[in-house]
Amino acid sequence: MTTTEARPTERKPPQLVDMSWDPITRIIGNLGIYTKIDFANREVVECHSTSSLFRGYSVFMKGKDPRDAGFITSRICGICGDNHTTCSDYAQQMAYGVKPPPLAEHIVNLGEAAEYMFDHTIFQDNLVFVDFCEAMVKATNPGLLARAERTDAPRGEIHGYRTIADIMKAFNPFEGEVYKEALKVSRVTREMFCLMEGRHVHPSTLYPGGVGTMPQPTAFTDYLSRLMRVIDFVKKAVAMNDDVFDFFYEALPGYEEVGRRRVLLGCWGAFQDPKVVDYRYETMNTWGKAMYVTPGIIVDGELVTNNLVDINLGLRIMLGSSYYEDWVNESPFVTHDPLGNPVDMRHPWNQTTVPVPQKRNFDDKYSWVMSPRWYDKRTDQHLALDTGGGPLARLWSTALSGLVDTPYIKATGHSVRISLPKGETLPETTLEWRIPQWSNTIERDRARPYFVAYAAAMALQFLEEAMGLVRAGETKVFENYEVPDEAIGCGFHEAVRGVLSHHLVIKDKKIANYHPYPPTPWNASPRDIYGTPGPYEDAVQGQPIFEENGPDDFKGVDIMRTVRSFDPCLPCGVHMYVGKGKTLTTLHSPTYGANHG
């Protein structure tokens, strides 16, 4: 078949096949995707996402010294452990009533900027791109590869590749140029991280109240020189990604439907402004909006709120398909927030985690992940927000709010402009990420290199401000405090792949309750009590299949691209199950069409 052959418009009698990918090489642990695919009409008709790992942080944190929370919760994630430590410190700083010195905020911001650059690079170039590399495209869409060989790369003068197929060859694992260079870049950016936070992945110099990093000029010049060494790589990455993704839309009409779901995005904000943040709950809306990545909830393209208090109060942790006992009959820890607003029983502050291991049953309970939702009081709906893999929601939210205005970044209301200085081979460059038409697989992936550029640009600003403080002799990086007998706190941050919150309740100077909510439960959640599927399930379910292989040698590349576009927790590669799926004897009629809002 040719790559541009129109997809069938008339529905044929369904030919349903069970296909599963388990392990998908997981999230923190194990992610499995179970689907039913209609090969006659070439679409996915059903999808279940399951995680088969329980670890129990919210259980064993109880009774511990709250100051230990950051050190322990770092270990939730082997790639963004620092995001957890940072978020935990934010929550603790609220509970202890302490504001770290400005230089400490810059050091944390610089560490986080390096983390975003590292993690997005290794994930996109070494793992996501394997799905778009020459070898994979040849195995799944040979016609597309033939066309890529004939198609000149429009941004060749920036990245240096002549055709789209040349770029795809550079993506080939272990041998391609981009693959190899990305591994090297991921080491340089991790060194930048270590300069600020001591170790990667579990940082050693972050504390509630500040940091222990010695704020000598050397730390900053060592960081800056490394940043400038990778700045051209960042510019090239954006150009290469744009070329490949634009080519997909053009060569495979309808590809925008792959992984498309309603625009239901959440971003909790990142990069504190030390001049504004004081970590008090009462002023959280103000300092939340001063963050250099603006928090926000976006529904069908509309910004519902960018107030962190609203975001906090709308959090709901639902059950339905998860291996846990409900806590509805426990007594609540927090009935009202510090502003006097009522706090729901399903809010993380009131959650009790009681694991109940049991048999996997896709008609009932099938995952160790719970179902976080955001309650939209306008419509009385529990929204299965996704994070867009992180960057999509971050850029979208920042662009719509139009609040960020710095020497290197400008949010315009419909786009984000990012200016990067001259590098070794490329001139000063301004990139513009515009709010896309769809929330789909390609746009989630495309947003990632733009956010690497964003993080690099923010790092330049933090460096300048930090050096200014050092030169002025303002080198304090830690502020002392007392742990109160009773307190509550919440931290909002962005892990690399999206929203991250920590909720903390202290009683008798000990942790009475602690609930971290990283992005993966939001994205990988199973069906909730109302039957609403989680974002992976929703994005895969109903998506068309463009792969040229039939059921016998099906690889599922379109499905894997979709799941991977959300950046499932670890940069874990791997790719696809090839399998001979089992043809179902009982045929269901597909109930999921392309009903995207």
């Binding site: 109880k62 994630c77 170790r199 110099t205 940091v211 830690f478 199950y577």
Partner: protein
């Protein structure tokens, strides 16, 4: 204070390579489905001496050809295709292989009924999840060597802390501390939360040289850790250690001085990170302002909590060093002042006072 007593060497002095044929090719089957954060796999990709590409592409002379099966790096297919080498090893069709376990091992025995704490693929016959424990039970007896990557796999780590619901433990607790592999090796433990990248790669490369028949087995201590990496304490490699000697202690984290009073366990923790740095000599813990929380140790984390308080033993030893340190600091201060001046003969007056004598003889 620093001590070597906790690392009594129990394995024999490394002997010369035995007279046996080495392997030309070996497979590494890496399973990270333990209770873990996968931070050890991620850390591994930070190693540069050697790097994972060097290993896989055969750029290290004298090693067998290495087939690495690790989900992060494998360009292979996932699901059953990814699991194929593991299944072949279970059947006895893939040999030799090194089994690397990442993450602590949950106790399935405390579960009643059909539940599971963690799984790795499904049973092809029944479609039910296959537990990590099942895989270890199948693979450990057939493995040529077994390596535990990170503190979770070595000693249980964070997930095995008090109050945990899963009954987690380290690999040696699960298989028995006297376990020996087909290659005659005990479990090789590389602790660290996560592993220091080069510590792990270096150990793995030693095991691979041993597999090639060109090196003795790596020397391990009584907790099965490589002696050359874990035989010294954090304190002994820490560039803040001299502050301790001079009784110069940081009161909070705003200081480059010794952190022992703000919660650092460096004097009693076996780890080389301050000396080696984290990556390319950069970063670390107390050397760059982070307290040592003992993350390489069997007692981690409970024995070291709460982390941000002075360790109980620290009060006495830091008190004892106080009078000595105060005197030494003062004396050194005086000498330092002295050597911070240039000799008097360096001047631009009209007379040479350097002691120059053209006819000088001894």
């Amino acid at each position: 204070m620093a001590t070597h007593s906790s690392t009594a060497e129990v394995s024999k002095e490394p002997s010369r390579g035995e007279d046996r044929e080495g392997f030309d090719e070996i497979t590494i089957l890496w399973i990270s489905e333990g209770m873990s954060c996968d931070g050890d796999t991620v850390s591994l990709t930070a190693a540069d001496q050697p790097s994972i590409e060097d290993l896989v592409l055969g750029l290290i002379p004298g090693l067998p050809k290495v087939n690495l099966v690790n989900k992060v790096l494998s360009p292979s297919l996932g699901g059953e295709d990814f699991l194929a080498p593991y299944r072949a090893a279970v059947r006895g069709d893939l040999s030799p292989f090194i089994l690397v376990i990442e993450g602590s091992i949950p106790n399935q025995n405390i579960i009643e009924g059909d539940g599971y704490w963690t799984s790795f693929g499904n049973d092809p016959e029944t479609g039910e999840p296959q537990t990590l424990n099942w895989w270890i039970d199948q693979l450990a007896p057939k493995a040529w060597a077994v390596v535990a990557a990170g503190t979770c796999a070595t000693f249980g780590g964070i997930h095995a802390m008090s109050g945990n619901p899963t009954g987690c433990m380290g690999l040696a607790d699960y298989l028995g501390w006297d376990y020996t592999s087909q290659g005659g090796l005990p479990i090789v433990n590389v602790p660290g939360c996560p592993i220091q990248p080069e510590n792990f790669m270096e150990t793995l490369v030693w095991v691979l040289y041993h597999a090639a028949g060109s090196a003795p087995p790596p020397p391990l201590d009584h907790m099965l850790r490589p002696q050359w990496l874990f035989g010294r304490t954090v304190h002994e490699g820490c560039d803040r250690g001299s502050y301790y000697e001079q009784a110069n202690f940081a009161k909070d984290y705003n200081s480059p001085k010794c952190l022992v009073k703000t919660g650092c366990w460096g004097p009693v923790v076996n780890c080389n990170v301050p000396k080696r740095g984290w990556m390319a000599g950069i970063g670390g813990c107390p050397n760059v302002g982070g307290i040592c929380i003992g993350c390489t140790m069997p007692g981690f984390p409970d024995a070291f909590m709460p982390f941000m308080d002075e360790p109980p033993g620290g009060t006495l030893s830091s008190l004892a060093i106080k009078p000595y340190g105060a005197v030494i600091r003062r004396l050194r201060g005086m000498t330092n002042e002295l050597v911070n001046h240039e000799p008097r003969w360096r001047h631009n007056k009209r007379k040479l006072t350097s002691g120059y004598d053209p006819h000088w003889r001894p």
